[in-house]
Every structure is written in C-alpha cells, then in structure tokens.
C-alpha cells in the first residue's frame, strides 16, 4: 500500500453534513440522463418521446465516436425530451415502470476472460459512459489503452457522499468491478481510500491501494495521479466514479443491470440525509426536507456541481445533492466587518471565523477584480504545477506553454478550491476548461 499525504488544501467547513444512516424517501417516478453532463460529445438521439425503453437500451450515441452509446437508466416510457438553445438536448426524462424493471432477465452470457471480451461486453450493454478519461475529463475512446486506471473511494469534496458508508453493502460487487477494470489496462489499477476504509481491498493484488491523507482536494483523481503516476503528454488515464462500482460489479458478476445508487442530500438549506435512490434521480421527491424557500439546488458538490431546478435531476456522475440558500443580502460596509459567525475565510481576515460549520450562501462575497496573486490559489492547490502561470498562458492562448506547464494533469475540479479562495473572485475552473477546450479543438 502506498501512502500519500496532501498538505495544501482546505476542508470547507460547511454545515449540513448527513449522518451515516439511511432515511426513507418515496421511490423515483422519473429519472433523466442529460447529454450536457458529458464534455465534447455530439449527441444523436436514438429515441423519441413516447418510446418504450428498458434498462440499458441505447438512448443516444456520440456522432464523433459512434461506438459510444448511452444506456437508458430505467425501464419505462420516454416522457419528455427537453431542448435548450440551438436544440441542444438538456434532459431525456424517462417515466419509470417498476413492474417492467423487475421482470428484466439478467444477461447469462458473461465471458470476461480477456480484455477484448470485456470491452465487447461493456459495448453490448452501452456502459462506456461510466468510463471517463484524463486529460479532458470526457468519456473514453474504447480503442485507447490507458496507462493506468484510477478509482477514488476517498472523495474529499464538501458534503461528499461518504462511500465507506453508502457502498458498505456492496463489497463483492466492488471486488468484481475492480478485478475486471484491471483487465482494461496494462498498468496499475489505483484505488484511493482514506484511513482504514475499504481495508479488505488490500487482500487483492490487482489493486494498487493508495491511502490518502489531508484536506480536499486530496481525494481528487487528478491530485492522486499527480502524486503517484503523473500524466504526460499523449497519455491517457481512465477513471470510474467510486459510487458507480456496484453498478459495474453487478453487471460484470451477474449480468444484472441495476442503476440504483445511494445518494446523499446535504447542505445548510436542507435536512441532510442518505437516501437509497437511483441514478438520475429527481430532486422534487426530497423537497419536503428543504428548510427554506429561496434555495439553490446543486447536483453534485458545492464546488463543482451543476445548478438544477427543484424538479431537476441528478447528473450522471454525481451521487449527491447539495442545497444552499440563495442570498441577496447587502450588508452595510460588509468589507469592514470584524468577523464572527457570519464570515468564513481561509485567510486570517476575520476574527473567530471557521470555527463552527458555516451556512454558506450563493453570495460571491465580493466583486470580480483583476488577478492579485496573494498566494491564495497556491495555498489550496497541491499539484507541482504553477497554476498562476498556467492560467496566464491560457488567457494568452499559448498552447505550447499550457502543455509544458502541465494542463493535461488538471481538471476543473482540481482547481475549484482556487476559485473558492480567490479574493479577485476569478473562476479558475472556467479558465482551465477554456484551456482544455482550446487544445481539444485545435487537434
């Protein structure tokens, strides 16, 4: 077992952490899959409103890489396809037919003896979208051979779904999923865990177990890779969400397609809880737990998640909802405030802040300004990359320099904390994405 300790970073002390027990909630009647959750794809729909689909049927494919198809995450009827500007598909909403789901037979023909067999099997069940790659954080190209595969079971983001709790009942599926993932690469299969969680994995030699310690972003795939096996130019690394391991494991070991997912709802504006639910879950089933009227519902965590409406859906790669208050407050001379309970800062700029868990709101807490490099980003960015220089090279559109400075190792989520702490209120994630886009479309 390898141990890595991250020093630079920050655990945001946000209130509304769910306690480790499941609460009851109504079953989901509608689920959705949104092509917007996937970077750099051109979706082409294979279904239309009113079509009957069953679990795992292809819903759409990527015109750029037609092999990759997206599975239906429920059996039932396509109840609505929501379009946005320029007819971009925002949501494919499926009305769940539970009876139909129960009667689906498992796939008995499981032959996963070789890499090619496994790839065929994944292709057959349209499971490629579960695999994403670095760089670019996009769905993999199945013909690539990744130099290694990383799975993080140590999500460190604020109010993250604690996988050591929510995956506790799925030990055998996790093992089955991991043993098969190893077949997809000639390199290591890195699995990051925190403390003694998932200690049973140390019995299996196909897993290169990594024990991570330290504050967020220590559980991020990019940060772990940067420490154990840095990504170089022209290399590809695959990754799978830790929360998806049971879904993969069930398919690989028993041929069962089951998209159930234990999700976590948290945040200052909601009664926090863990819920046995499913992928693409709709938030309005949990709206009774809201504590106030004016809220922002976020699919995913508060740093990198996506804002959804009250009847919005969980993103494909997300396993938690976070809810914070939409605040429009304008405190009088707020920048002179002495501190106390109403302020939170990683700088020692307020008296007695950060002691208790804090009720964050959607306020930006300042206006946008030019970069003033007071070493804020560097304090919370643990990679050996000069993030300030990288951001400048991106703004200057200098692709060579971006590559030299290590843009391939970064993803939006790795720099989210930089945006959080930035006194100039820059969106560092957007800058990194802009750089990745520039390179992606240049090639």
């Amino acid at each position: 077992m390898q141990k890595i300790t991250i020093k630079k970073g920050h655990n945001i002390n946000i209130s509304g952490l769910a306690s480790r027990e499941f609460s009851n909630a109504p079953t989901q009647k509608f689920v959705s899959i949104s092509p917007q959750d996937f970077n750099y794809i051109k979706p082409k729909l294979l279904v239309k409103e009113g079509d009957q689909v069953s679990l795992g049927d292809a819903l759409f494919f990527d015109k750029i890489n037609p092999e990759v198809k997206w599975p239906s995450i429920a059996s039932g009827t396509i109840s609505k396809i929501v379009y946005g500007e320029r007819r971009a598909v925002l949501d494919i909403i499926i009305e769940v037919d539970e009876e139909k789901e129960k009667n689906i037979e498992s796939d008995k023909q499981i032959n996963l003896s070789s890499k090619d067999n496994l790839k065929e099997f994944i292709q057959k069940h349209n499971f490629w979208p579960f695999f994403t790659q670095r760089p670019f954080n996009k769905v993999v190209n199945p013909s690539d051979s990744p130099k290694c595969i990383v799975v993080s079971l140590a999500d460190s983001s604020p109010l993250a779904n604690d996988l050591s709790f929510s995956l506790a009942e799925n030990k055998e599926y996790i093992i089955s999923a991991l043993s098969n993932l190893k077949k997809l690469t000639d390199g290591h299969l890195y699995v990051a865990v925190r403390g003694d969680n998932f200690s049973f994995l140390s019995d299996y030699d196909f897993v290169s177990l990594i024990q991570v310690e330290g504050p967020h972003p220590s559980g991020n795939v990019g940060v772990i890779l940067n420490r154990v096996n840095p990504l170089n130019q022209n290399e590809v690394v695959w990754t799978v969400q830790g929360s998806h391991l049971p879904v993969l494991g069930k398919l690989f070991s028993k041929g069962i397609i089951d998209f159930s997912l234990n999700i976590c709802v948290g945040g200052p504006a909601v009664k926090p809880s863990y819920i046995k639910s499913r992928m693409g879950a709709r938030f309005d089933q949990y709206k009774d737990s809201l504590l106030m009227e004016n809220v922002r519902i976020i699919s995913g965590n508060v740093l990198t998640g996506k804002q959804v409406d009250i009847d919005g859906f969980l993103g494909f790669y997300h396993s938690s909802f976070s809810v914070i208050e939409e605040s429009f407050e304008r405190p009088f001379i707020g920048w002179l405030h002495p501190g106390g309970k109403s302020k939170y800062s990683v700088f020692n700029a307020y008296l007695g802040s950060n002691k208790k868990s804090f009720d964050f709101t959607t306020l930006q807490n300042g206006s946008n300004r030019a970069f003033v490099p007071v070493d804020a980003w560097e304090k919370v960015f643990p990679m050996d990359i000069y993030i300030n220089a990288l951001a400048r090279s991106i703004e200057a559109n200098d692709i060579d320099e971006m590559e030299q400075l290590g843009i391939y190792e970064c993803d939006e989520e790795d720099v989210a904390l930089c945006s959080f702490v930035c006194p100039s209120k820059s969106d560092v994630g957007a800058i990194i994405r802009k750089g990745l886009d520039t390179i992606y479309f240049d090639k």
């Binding site: 508060v302 429009f328 001379i333 306020l363 300042g366 946008n368 300004r369 400075l405 702490v421």
Partner: protein, 401 residues
Amino acid sequence: MNFLRKIFEETGKLVEKGKPLSWAYPVWEAADTIFFSTNKQTSKGPHIRDNMDIKRTMFFVVIALIPCYIFGAYNIGYLNALAMEIERGIVGNTIFGFTYVIPILIATFVAGAICELTFAIIRKHEVNEGFLVSCALIPLTMPPDVPLWQVFIGTSFGIIIGKEIFGGVGTNIFNPALTSRAFMYFAFPTKISGDKVWAVGPDGYSGATALAIPANPVEYDTASNLFAANTQFDYSTVNMFWGLIPGSIGETNKLLILFGAFFLIYCGIASWRIMVSSVLGLVFTALLFNLLNYFTVDGILQSGGFPNAMLTITPLQHILIGSFLFGTVFMATEPVTSSHTNTGRWIYGFLIGVLTVIIRSINPAYPEGVFLAILIMNMFAPLIDYYVVQANIKMRLARNA
C-alpha cells in the same frame, strides 16, 4: 440604512446602460459597493465563495499603515519641538504633525482618485481598490515639509505611469507608490533626495538624516562613530529603532513597521518569504562590505580617492536607518509587481537586500537605495519567475522523455 440604500438605487437608475450618465457607472459602482457589500451571486461552480475579497485585502494593508501615520505625525511634532526648544506634550506634538500629514494625504488621494476614476470611466472598468493602498503609501514616503503641488504631480505620475498605462491593477510592472517616489526623487531633488534634514523646523534649520551622515562625512570615521558624534539628533541604535529621528513620515518607527509586517503575514496578505529573504540579502551584503573594509590600505577602503564610511555600517544599522524595513514590508511585498512564485520570491527579496546595500554604499550620491532596489527588482521579477517556471517545465519534459 434604508434611506441610503434608496439613494443608491435611485441614482443607480441614472447610470444604467443607455442613459446619458452611463459613463459614470464605475464611479457609482465604487461608491455603492463601498457602502453596501455586493450581492453578486455565484453563477456556477464553485457555488460558494470565501468571504475575503480585494476590498478587504487592500483595506487591511491600509490598516497596517495607520500606526505608522500616527507615529509619523507625533514624530514631526516631536522633532519640531526639539528644534524650536519648546514643550508641547504627546497630544500636542501629534496634532501639530497631523497639520502636515493631512494636507499631504488629501493631495495624494485627490490626485489618485482623479487618475483612477478617469481611467475607470475611459476604460469602462470597475474602480480597483489598489489605488487606495498606493495613495496610503505615498504620503508615508514623503518628508513632512514637501510642497503639496509636488505630491499632487508625483502621485499622478505614479498612478498613471506606474499602473494605468500598463492596464491597471494586476498588469502593472512597477509599484505605483514607488514610481511616484522615484519620480519625485529625480524631479525635485532639492526637497527629497535625502541629504537635507527631513524635519519641520524654523527657517534655515538644517541637519543630516542618518543616511547622509556616513555618506558625506566631514572627516572619515566608522559609521558608528559618526552617528555617535552627531549631537543634533540621537542616532543611537535604540533610538533609530524607536524612530524619534528625522525621516520620511512613515519610515522611522521600526516597531510599528514590524507590527504591520506580522499583521499582514498573519492575515496571509503579504509574503513573509520576501521580507525574510530581503533582510537576509541585506545582512549578507552588509557583512561582505564590512569585511571588505579590512582589506584596504590603512584600514580605509578608497572610493574615488576618498574613504567610504558607508562600508562600515553594520547590518543592524542598515536595517534601522532609512526606509529599508518600510520598503521591504509594504512595497517589496506588493503582490502584483513582486515575483509570483515562492522560489522566485526568495530570489527577488534577497536581491532587493543586496541591491539596497550596494546602492547605499558603493555610490553614496544616492544614500537611500531601497526604493531604487525595489523598482529594479520589480523589473526583474517576471524574469525570475520565467526561470523558476522553466525549471518546472524542464522537470515535466524530463519525466515525459
């Protein structure tokens, strides 16, 4: 509060886009967000943000400077009372001093605000709070009896040439406050070059600042002896630390400057690396020069045919005389114009210390070398960063090979 809020909301309508007064939006926005924190929302991830913003960052630097202002005012009154041979008491001295400090402060802020607002309106960007810090720093680098029109011109030059022509805060190469200091140093040398006494006295009152004494000695001796021989002012090490000596307004009391340094370091605003390394650079070079002094004919190093007493200044005296500490703590650490990498900050600071002693000692025509040293290093900071970043690039390329 509601009344004030209403005024802003009503006036805000006048400066909306498309209205005849829309050019004044940056001015309105600046006033509005000073009185009421912005209610700007996050639009996407990260949905939550830290409570620190540039307003508070800049304001904290100003807070760190306030003790220097108060002591500076007191010191003006104290030295004046000394020269006039009268008693005025602490409060009286401070009030007397403020009658000199406040006009300089007003001249600076008027000049700074005019430049900043004009550029904000022309460029249609929001008013950046950085100018508050520049304007708060400039009076502290001035002698108390500096003519106000010189302050006005100096400040305008610093803000425009030092900052705005490069694109404003975040893109400037030189520290605006130091740019105006340098401009005044060369434009009005009779008032500000540092060899005349910097105290308010009766007409015809004269004397020498601590740096001018070893720079232009009547008869060669070591710096310590020269300081001790000066009867006009108490240039003992202890008194130079407490700051009851002539100098520019903010530079004399070292304790308050150190207090400001710890405050800024604690808040995470200024880089301790720059401060520590520039002191190291200064000590290193001063010791080197002390050493050099022993390798000379008759124990006296000849400089242009004359013995150079500046070489005998001990490291501690170098730290205490002139504005080295003030420059290091408040000027060298300016985040935009200093190095942006931690390795770079060590090099940048060290070289500031080295250059300060070189400029002070080798060419005593410029007894005060700190601001020149910092400006020179401002110029080289991007180069230092370039090489630091290149090392990172080489590491990455080597890994790839």
